[in-house]
């Protein structure tokens, strides 16, 4: 159909084909559902399908597009079909470095210990919150570069997994 543009919209690991037509109709999925999208103000849309209408907000560049609907929100990646794009660097969730300056309140592993992806390695406290640092992969704890009570900065790895 002329005036139709196709996108791949990614939320986490899920990738959904989305087709935007020039008449304001948008197909989500394949075969999927068709929605009528109307802009009510810059970045605010009414999206309707059958009897149901959602009010959706969208902002940000295609590689980090924030959307919010009915109190739920997420950061999506909107990639035009046929265009390749390096995946967005996600925040350091689950990495081995501190995501922000904080104090180490607990080290849960010891050197020589086998860990699995997702295991708790240590706990930081920053901004009055506890931040668990989990192993991004299976492996062996080969070094621990921090101790409880220590103030750590983002950047250098706090635990090494080999």
């Amino acid at each position: 159909m002329p005036g139709t543009r196709r996108f791949i919209v990614r939320q986490g690991l899920a990738a959904t084909p989305v087709e935007v037509r020039s008449d304001g109709r948008v197909r989500v999925g394949d075969p999927g559902d068709v929605f009528l999208v109307t802009a009510v103000s810059p970045g605010e849309y009414l999206v309707s399908s059958g009897a149901h209408t959602w009010r959706v907000a969208a902002a940000g560049p295609p590689e980090a597009r924030w959307v919010a609907v009915e109190g739920a929100g997420a950061c999506l990646e909107v990639q035009p079909e046929g265009q390749t794009r390096a995946p967005r660097q996600r925040a350091a969730h689950g990495a081995l470095a501190a995501p922000m300056p904080g104090t180490v309140i607990d080290v849960s592993v010891a050197v020589g210990q086998q860990v699995r992806a997702g295991d708790l390695l240590l706990t930081l406290e920053a901004m009055k919150m506890e931040l668990p640092i989990r192993s991004p992969r299976d492996g062996l704890v080969s070094a621990i570069r921090c101790a409880p009570g220590e103030l750590v900065q983002p950047g250098p790895p706090l635990v090494e997994i080999t």
Partner: protein
């Protein structure tokens, strides 16, 4: 007479205090760190003084710099807000030493309530119930066993010198008592070189119910009812409400009287909060003093809504030496108010705090909704400070109506650019346990992970996400720089 107030804080509470000052015709002075040079609280103040680098120790916790700023700017009073220096007795007395009015309690009251041991002794003497427990002078097994039976089961046996769980034993009844005493003593001696033991009743599944108190320098002290703050995660309050679903009128009266007695016992002035643990339900429920917060609380708008008062106005007037604007007989609880705290954090990723720029910000507006926020669209949520973005307070005739109102407000609150806990707050408000008014302080630690799980967005959101790429006007708006003061970009308008 206060003419100029320096507000020694940032974010929503600094704005809250400045608004009260404006209403009373008092000039305001903001202080700021380099991370906050164009923050809303700086723009709202009459004048602003830079403190230093972003870390709190070099800015909002640097008491000497703040007092210097107050002197230079000609302030006659300092309002500390909450957090930072609000409960620092040395800072409060340094203010007085510099001839400044500290808008808060006397330094001696802050110090007395800041020490758990001195606060407990003071409360016992004033007849305020404390969690049963003691450090027996006679440390023989028989004497400790007797103390344990006086306190009641379940109880903790703890190393008097200790911390970190060393030498701590939970005992559920007579059967395990003797073994627990010898085990705890052994561990305490090994860890601290001191085998002195302390016994304390464990309050099972308590609710956190606190009483707002207010006292003036003329001998008047009142309470402004309770706030139930049982919805908390690892001692961090998330939702606060009044009336408490757990209090009967008789219990409310008892707790109010105990709170006023506590305030009088410590020679209190200005606004404060007595926190209690509440065990059981109905008129038979028991309450125990937990601690006193010697400052304005984050959740003070709940009390303002149900009592129809302005606590910050009253703080300023009482600090000036005026009488309290209300007697106990003037104060009534009207309707139901609930506050929730909106944080920049990702509940589905272990509540990891989030920093970043707010791309779009639209506050909910509807009858009975108050929003106290410290950010605007384009604000940067920085790693240096508490990640609270805003508080949303709903007031309605009934608890159910207040929950519905708060739900609707949260669902229309637009914060784009970083994850927030709004989905989690909605899940808590929708939970049967919360709706039924049965949340105790353990609830979120036990059930929170199920409520925090992220759900995929509806397909309609994906439709709008893609359509937004086709909307040239919207995309160019997103790509522009953060909004700045328009006058700054106009030639010939440079101040």
């Amino acid at each position: 007479m206060i003419r100029n107030v320096l507000v020694a804080n940032r974010g929503e509470i600094a704005l809250r205090i400045m608004r009260a000052c404006d209403e009373l015709g008092i000039d305001t002075i903001a202080v700021y760190s380099d991370a906050d040079a164009d923050a809303p609280h700086v723009l709202a103040a009459g004048r602003a003084v830079r403190l230093g680098a972003p870390p709190p120790a070099e800015s909002y916790l640097a008491g000497d710099r703040i007092i210097e700023a107050a002197r230079t700017a000609g302030a006659d009073a300092i309002h500390p807000g909450y957090g930072f220096l609000a409960e620092n007795a040395a800072f409060a007395s340094a203010c007085q030493g510099a001839g400044l009015i500290f808008v808060g309690p006397p330094p001696a009251a802050i110090a007395a309530m800041g020490s758990k041991i001195s606060a407990r002794r003071l409360m016992e003497r004033a007849g305020v119930p404390v969690v049963p427990g003691e450090t027996p002078a006679d440390q023989s097994d028989a004497s400790i066993e007797a103390a344990a039976r006086r306190a009641g089961f379940p109880l903790l046996i703890k190393a008097s010198a200790g911390g970190g769980g060393k030498g701590m034993r939970m005992v559920r009844g007579d059967a395990g008592l003797a073994a627990a005493i010898s085990g705890a003593r052994h561990e305490a001696t090994a860890a601290f070189g001191d085998g002195t033991l302390y016994v304390e009743r464990v309050v099972t599944r308590p609710r956190h119910v606190e009483i707002q108190v207010f006292a003036d320098a003329h001998g008047r002290a009142v309470h402004l009812f309770e706030r139930d703050c049982s919805t908390q995660r690892r001692h961090q309050k998330i939702i606060e409400e009044s009336p408490s679903p757990a209090l009967t009128p008789a219990l409310r009266a008892l707790m109010g009287d105990a709170a006023v007695a506590a305030a009088r016992a410590v020679g209190y002035r200005n606004a404060g909060t007595i926190e209690f643990l509440l065990e059981g339900a109905g008129d038979q429920a028991r309450f125990y003093f937990l601690e006193m917060n010697t400052r304005l609380q984050v959740e003070h708008p709940v009390t303002e809504a149900i009592a129809g008062v302005d606590l910050v106005h009253a703080q300023l007037r009482v600090a000036e030496g005026h009488e309290l604007p209300w007697t106990q007989a003037d104060l009534h609880q009207r309707g139901h108010a609930i506050e929730c705290r909106v944080y920049a954090e990702d509940p589905s990723a272990g509540y990891l705090p989030q920093a970043g720029r707010i791309l779009r910000y639209r506050q909910p507006e509807r009858p009975g909704i108050r929003v106290d926020a410290g950010v605007v669209e384009g604000s940067e949520v920085s790693v240096h400070y508490d990640p609270m973005i805003a508080k949303v307070i709903a007031h309605a005739e009934t608890r159910d109506a207040a929950i519905d109102r708060l739900r609707a407000a949260l669902a229309e609150f637009r914060i784009l650019g970083l994850p927030t806990n709004i989905p989690f707050l909605l899940a808590v408000l929708d939970s049967q346990t919360f709706r039924a008014g049965h949340v105790d302080t353990a609830y979120l630690d036990e059930e929170g992970s199920g409520l925090a799980a992220s759900k995929p967005l509806p397909a309609a959101a994906l439709a709008a996400a893609a359509a937004h790429s086709e909307s040239a006007r919207a995309v160019s708006a997103d790509r522009s720089e953060p909004r700045r003061d328009p006058w700054a970009s106009l030639p010939g308008w440079s101040g």
